[in-house]
């Protein structure tokens, strides 16, 4: 069980270091959450990881084999936050495009759309969707990709509690086949779904491990992620 290993990933904007030699790993079937205050470098880390942004330093290995940035999209798919792709197209055309581009098959498309309860809005244009439905559509697109690693930026943003729990259940099922790396702003959500957590602040890794590991590292009195977060980012 090797999975993904990230060693010393770093990125600079001019003289400013936005990501400083971050190390972590992701095992098959695991959900790792990236948490941290605003501007911690969560999105930069994910985009460097998948090869959309250039990393200045670092090695990314999959099952022990280093993979170049240009080849990473074969192993991982990244779903950015706050995007509204193809807003003038109906939902079914967008999901159909992803199905066709990745060869996912109609049965899989039907299953994904059903699980994400997108049937009522299939004929609507993407630009007409509510924030919740738009987020569900984006998740559907991610689930129609075949890569063994899914990287999702703020997957629960725009959902109410019930919807969040439903999506968490779905992602847990997905994690049985694929590994997930999630950037999560809400600590309670991260605590609920993640097996391990990567805490970033100002581009630096402040901690990585299970909640118990982080609590020990932070010297927290109880297994509470908020207390750990405040303790480590103080």
């Amino acid at each position: 069980m090797i999975g993904l290993e990230v060693v010393g990933l770093g990125r600079c904007h001019g003289d400013t270091r936005v990501l400083a030699d971050v190390d972590f790993d992701l095992r098959p079937g695991e959900i790792v959450g990236i948490i941290g205050p605003n501007g911690a470098g969560k999105t930069t880390l994910m985009e460097c990881l998948v090869g959309l942004q250039p990393a200045r330093t670092g090695v990314v290995r999959l099952d022990g084999i280093p993979i170049d940035p240009g080849a990473r999209s074969a192993a991982m798919f990244y779903l950015p936050d706050g995007i509204m792709p193809w807003s003038d197209q109906p939902v079914w055309r967008v999901t159909g495009l992803f199905r066709d581009m990745h060869g996912s098959g109609r049965d899989r498309e039907v299953t994904v759309l059903r699980r994400l309860e997108l049937a009522p809005v299939l004929s609507k244009r993407v630009g007409e969707l509510s924030k919740g439905y738009r987020r569900r559509l984006l998740l559907a697109l991610a689930l129609l990709t075949p890569q063994p690693i899914l990287i999702l930026d703020e997957p629960f943003d725009g959902f109410d509690l019930r919807q969040t729990l439903h999506v968490m259940e779905l992602l847990r099922e997905v994690a049985a086949e694929r590994a997930l790396l999630l950037s999560i702003h809400q600590l309670k959500d991260a605590e609920r779904i993640c097996d391990r957590l990567l805490l970033l602040d100002a581009g630096r890794r402040l901690g990585f491990g299970t909640l118990a590991d982080l609590a020990t590292h932070a010297g927290a009195t109880k297994l509470d992620l908020e207390e750990v977060f405040l303790g480590l980012t103080a």
């Binding site: 581009m101 990745h102 060869g103």
Partner: protein
């Protein structure tokens, strides 16, 4: 792992191509262009038919006058002239939308992760945009259809060549639009950059007419200048290559800029190398020779017997013009004689004699002003004529040959008086309504596919 059938690269390109076409048809940019094209092209055509008809009334009485009436100049070029305006001013908005909107909406971050190389993705988008442009050809072609159905004449080769020229020009505009969209963050900025470049070519054309030599040479590379060759019924290899290189090169630069995971420094280096290669290609294309005259009236050619002799003049003909470039005689000489000689005489050298910078009026006191000298094989002849009929015998004399004109029948011309009213009704009424109906129908045609209907 998810069970699936891996699509081939070809299948992926086909899916992306279909998606891009559907997007173009879903947006009002393309339908809007078609809507504006209808009255714009219609006006150009209706006015051309009216003027051609007025000229034809007299020409029908005189064989000599009829020879001056060519449908290429009288009908096809003015009709496509309006289309050229739309390609320059409206088409960039259609092209930019295909890439700029993806950047703005964030879709590009998803697209760049698809299992397709960036260059293929960009090329597929460009192809879809060009197909959309080609569909727009229906508007000017319907005008030409009306001309033919009403009894007018069109030379197939010269008309096809004109369409080829406009197609290459559209490729150039599309490439520039994609490059601008790749460089800028928003579609609006890309539109400003594209229009600045395409309208900049107009300024270059204007400035190169009376500017210094380097500006004149730069003007030769302008797409609008290249299009003029096609409008004269000429397939000029350097101009075909120049337009194609500019279009394909700009598209390639766009894909270089869009390639993910590159640092700014690497992008700048790639862009610099790519731009340098493109500039070199354009310069090399401009020195390539070769052209085919497809015009019905052979306006770019001499008599075949004259041409055979001129092709043999390999001792280095040098023509010196003591004329200002702005002088109408110089322009006439260039069109009627020089352009044709350049196509035929190997190693032709043209020298502009020193007539000062005061133009035709200021130089009038100079006795030599207006003289053109012809040097060949150690012999020199001077003439003030700018007519091929007088100049060709001079050249034959220099080459020491006698030429017997071939029995090629003279161009007879095609005068025609045609009523443009039905075309006016089509372009100002029928076609715009049809475009609106089709646009509305397309935007409301969102029927679910069968496998999703029972979801």
């Amino acid at each position: 792992m998810v069970s699936r059938l891996e699509p081939t690269t070809g299948a992926r390109i086909a899916h992306l191509f279909g998606h891009e076409l559907r997007r173009l048809a879903s947006g009002w940019a393309w339908w809007g262009m078609l809507l504006v094209l209808a009255p714009l092209v219609g006006f150009g055509y209706v006015e051309a038919v009216r003027l051609y008809g007025e000229a034809s009334v007299t020409a029908l009485q005189s064989t000599e006058l009829a020879r001056g009436l060519t449908p290429l100049d009288g009908i096809a070029v003015p009709t496509f002239g309006a289309f050229y305006l739309a390609t320059t001013l409206l088409f960039p908005f259609v092209a930019i939308r295909a890439l700029g909107q993806d950047k703005e909406s964030g879709a590009l971050k998803l697209i760049l992760q698809w299992p397709l190389p960036t260059a293929l993705t960009v090329a597929t988008k460009v192809l879809a945009v060009l197909v959309a442009w080609t569909i727009g050809l229906v508007v000017p072609l319907s005008a030409l259809g009306h001309w033919l159905v009403s009894g007018g004449h069109l030379g197939f080769a010269e008309t096809a060549n004109l369409i080829l020229g406009h197609g290459l020009y559209a490729l150039t505009v599309c490439g520039i639009a994609f490059f601008a969209a790749a460089l800028t963050e928003t579609a609006a900025s890309a539109a400003i950059v594209t229009l600045a470049i395409t309208l900049g070519f107009w300024v270059l054309d204007f400035a190169s007419g009376s500017g210094p030599e380097w500006l004149r040479l730069a003007g030769e590379l302008s797409p609008t200048q290249a299009l003029k060759q096609f409008e004269r019924g000429l397939v000029s290899i350097p101009h075909v290559l120049g337009l194609a290189m500019l279009g394909v090169g700009s598209t390639a630069l766009a894909s270089l800029v869009l390639s993910p995971g590159l640092t700014v420094a690497k992008k700048v280096v790639r862009l610099g190398v790519g731009s340098g290669a493109l500039a070199l290609g354009l310069v090399l294309a401009s020195v390539v020779s070769g052209s085919v005259d497809l015009s019905d009236d052979r306006r770019n050619s001499f008599d075949p017997a004259d041409e055979a002799v001129l092709r043999q003049m390999s001792k280095g003909l040098e023509i010196t013009l003591f004329l200002s470039r702005d002088d109408s005689r110089a322009r006439e000489f260039q069109t009627n004689v020089l352009a044709k000689l350049r196509r035929l005489v190997p190693g032709l050298k043209v020298v502009w004699g020193d007539v000062g910078n005061t133009g035709p009026f200021g130089a009038a006191h100079d006795d030599r002003y207006g003289i053109v000298t012809y040097d060949y094989g150690g012999r020199r002849v001077e003439s003030r004529s700018n007519s091929a009929r007088e100049i060709l015998p001079i050249l034959h004399e220099l080459a020491s040959v006698t030429v017997v004109a071939s029995d090629l029948p003279p161009y007879r011309g095609y005068p025609a008086v045609i009523d443009p009213t039905p075309a006016g009704l089509w372009f100002y009424g029928g076609l715009p309504v049809l475009v609106l109906l089709l646009g509305w129908r397309w935007s409301h045609g969102r029927r679910l596919p069968a496998h999703l209907r029972d979801l």
